[in-house]
């Protein structure tokens, strides 16, 4: 992080699955590098041996018993779908 962060905006937009225009790429590259530059200040702190905080109030084993307690009709499940057929979501043909 001490080296000036290199931002490969195409790589990030690809990971994030967001198409960006050339103007957006330029703007976000600039914004990201200014924010990341600001964030550099965390390096002033020695955090060796400090536990990372994943939860404000961590407790263990928050679970439920194996019971079926929720149900939704397939019609309901598809109600907001942009495209559906036979109660399934239509997507462009997925080829791998």
């Amino acid at each position: 992080m001490s080296d000036k962060p290199k931002i490969d905006i195409d790589y990030i937009s690809n990971l994030a699955r967001v198409a960006l225009s050339e103007e957006e790429k330029a703007a976000y590259s600039k914004d990201l590098s200014s924010i990341l530059g600001y964030v550099e200040k965390l390096n002033e702190l020695d955090t060796d041996g400090i536990e990372p905080m994943a939860h404000p109030y961590p407790v263990y084993n928050v679970w439920r018993e194996d019971k079926v307690e929720s149900k939704m009709s397939p019609e309901k499940a598809m109600e907001n779908a942009p495209a559906s057929r036979q109660n399934m979501v239509i997507v462009p043909k997925v080829v791998e």
Partner: protein, 481 residues
């Protein structure tokens, strides 16, 4: 140059549970499209995951059965990637703190023949972790349809070390895992229902070389034979490439079971950057000894342990144990009968393996539905041993017992199968047979032992099959001596 293959497997096994791993809706196979969905499964805005205790029990039990260490603390991470079958576009899985570490799977390699036990060895495991399954895509000519019924099903990923060297070992590895999972009641491991799936990492290197070759990840191994065939094909392909002086480049390939070939899916250049990070919606799991011990106590004797005990305790041959042991219910059935008369275990085993399995599969019922229970089996063994009926008649008696649920004695009584003559009558029939058949008599006297069979057959005919064949044999030999 000689080459050797190195294989690691990633086996996904669904954990049997009524509800999904993080959602409260039902889990299962064979429902109409999207009947097993709710806000959590669909990843609707605001929906949150809550762990299913049964899935945790399942994986811990699996880990204990496979000799893994169960660390005190494990946690959940998100694996981020976009795919239409993944509602949140991240999978909840375990990255650096899985529930099970290490472990090993005992496998049996094929023996010299089907009747001979093969070599046993242990394949090392890296880890087992828990995650959510994804939905299912069905492809049509112009589009694909997504069904989320499977999405969110509890899924274990069993990761082996690169510790296998042939398709046969991989086959044995999967077979063993399946038996153990079914034995422990963790999963039914039905590959046709997608309850067990395997991916293989395969590389080939010159024999003696320490470093691994470039590896190919092989997907779409949808059946246990598919695993064997796909891996064998891929080993041959890589070996032949290397022999031609070509290099292997890391990539993902798929097995096409119909064509019987592997084909490239994607190059490693497009490898995903999954951006793993701890899932903030879920709390970590802490396992203590009380929990470990409770689950350990629920683990039954595992198949290969059982087999070794059957060799020791019942002196069973491999051919019988190799049929009985893989099926826990059958083994328990056998053992119930064998425990009534341990000395007669072999005869009991024979009846179970031959007659019982034949009838059950012919009628197409489950073992638990069979009217013949373990004490019935023993009753039949005993009447044969006493010589009350012949082995041939015993087969007939078994079929009757299977139909009616009667004991052997009851069937014999009802059908009048008990011999209605004494030994002197048998002797008379033997004398008649000798008198009536000079040719075989001559042949026997000339040293052809087999000629005796036709004489015995005559006597059996006269007794309507009820005479004790051993007795007949003895009498004829005496008379001709």
């Amino acid at each position: 140059m000689e080459y050797e293959a190195v294989i690691g497997l990633e086996v996904h096994v669904q954990v049997k549970a009524d509800s999904k791993i993080f959602a409260r809706c039902g889990a299962g196979f064979g429902h109409g499209p999207n009947e097993l969905a709710d806000p959590v499964v669909l990843g609707l805005p605001g929906a949150l995951p809550v762990m299913n205790k049964k899935a945790l029990d399942g994986i811990i039990k699996a880990g204990l059965a496979l000799g893994c260490t169960i660390p005190d603390v494990s946690k959940w991470d998100r694996k981020n990637y976009f795919y239409p079958d993944s509602p949140n576009n991240y999978q909840i899985t375990q990255y650096d703190q899985p529930i099970c570490d290490g472990g090993e799977v005992e496998i049996e390699l094929p023996g010299a023949s089907r009747n001979i036990m093969g070599e046993h060895r242990k394949v090392k495991l890296t880890r087992i972790h828990l995650e959510n399954d994804v939905g299912k895509l069905t492809h049509f000519s112009s589009d694909s349809l997504v069904d989320y019924n499977r999405a969110g099903t509890s899924l274990m990923e069993i990761v082996s070390e690169p510790d296998m060297h042939s398709g046969e070992e991989a086959f044995a590895f999967l077979t063993s895992i399946r038996q153990i999972m079914v034995y422990c009641g963790i999963s039914d491991c039905d590959m046709e229902k997608g309850q067990m799936r395997a991916d293989a990492n395969i590389s080939v290197r010159p024999k003696g070389q320490k470093a691994l070759g470039e590896r190919i990840e092989l997907k779409n191994l949808n059946s246990i034979t598919g695993v064997k065939n796909g891996i064998e094909y891929e080993i041959r392909r890589q070996t032949s490439e290397l022999k031609k002086g070509r290099t292997i480049t890391q990539a993902t390939w798929r097995w096409d079971a119909e064509l019987g070939v592997t084909e490239e899916m994607r190059k490693k250049e497009n490898a995903h950057d999954y951006r793993y990070f701890p899932d903030p919606d879920l709390m970590p799991v802490r396992v203590d000894d009380e929990w470990r011990n409770r689950l350990r106590a629920e683990i039954p004797e595992l198949p290969y342990e059982k087999q070794r005990r059957y060799f020791e305790e019942f002196d069973l041959p491999y051919t019988i144990t190799s049929v009985i042991v893989p099926d826990r219910e059958l083994a328990e059935y056998f053992e119930e009968a064998a425990n009534l008369a341990p000395k007669k275990a072999q005869a009991i085993g024979n009846l179970v393996v031959n007659d019982l399995l034949r009838e059950v599969s012919e009628v197409g019922i489950a073992l638990s539905e069979s009217k013949i229970r373990p004490p019935h089996i023993l009753s039949l063994v005993e009447v044969v041993e006493k010589g009350t009926i012949t082995k041939n008649i015993a087969k007939e008696v078994f079929v009757e017992m299977f139909k009616s649920g009667e004991t052997a004695e009851e069937v014999i009584e009802r059908k009048g199968l008990k011999p209605d003559f004494d030994d002197s009558q048998v002797k008379t029939w033997c004398e008649e047979a000798i008198a009536e058949n000079p040719k075989p008599v001559e042949s026997f006297k000339a040293g052809n032992d087999k000629a005796l069979n036709s004489l015995k057959g005559q006597v059996m005919k006269k007794s309507r099959g009820k005479a004790n064949p051993q007795l007949v044999d003895g009498i004829i030999r005496d008379l001709l001596a």
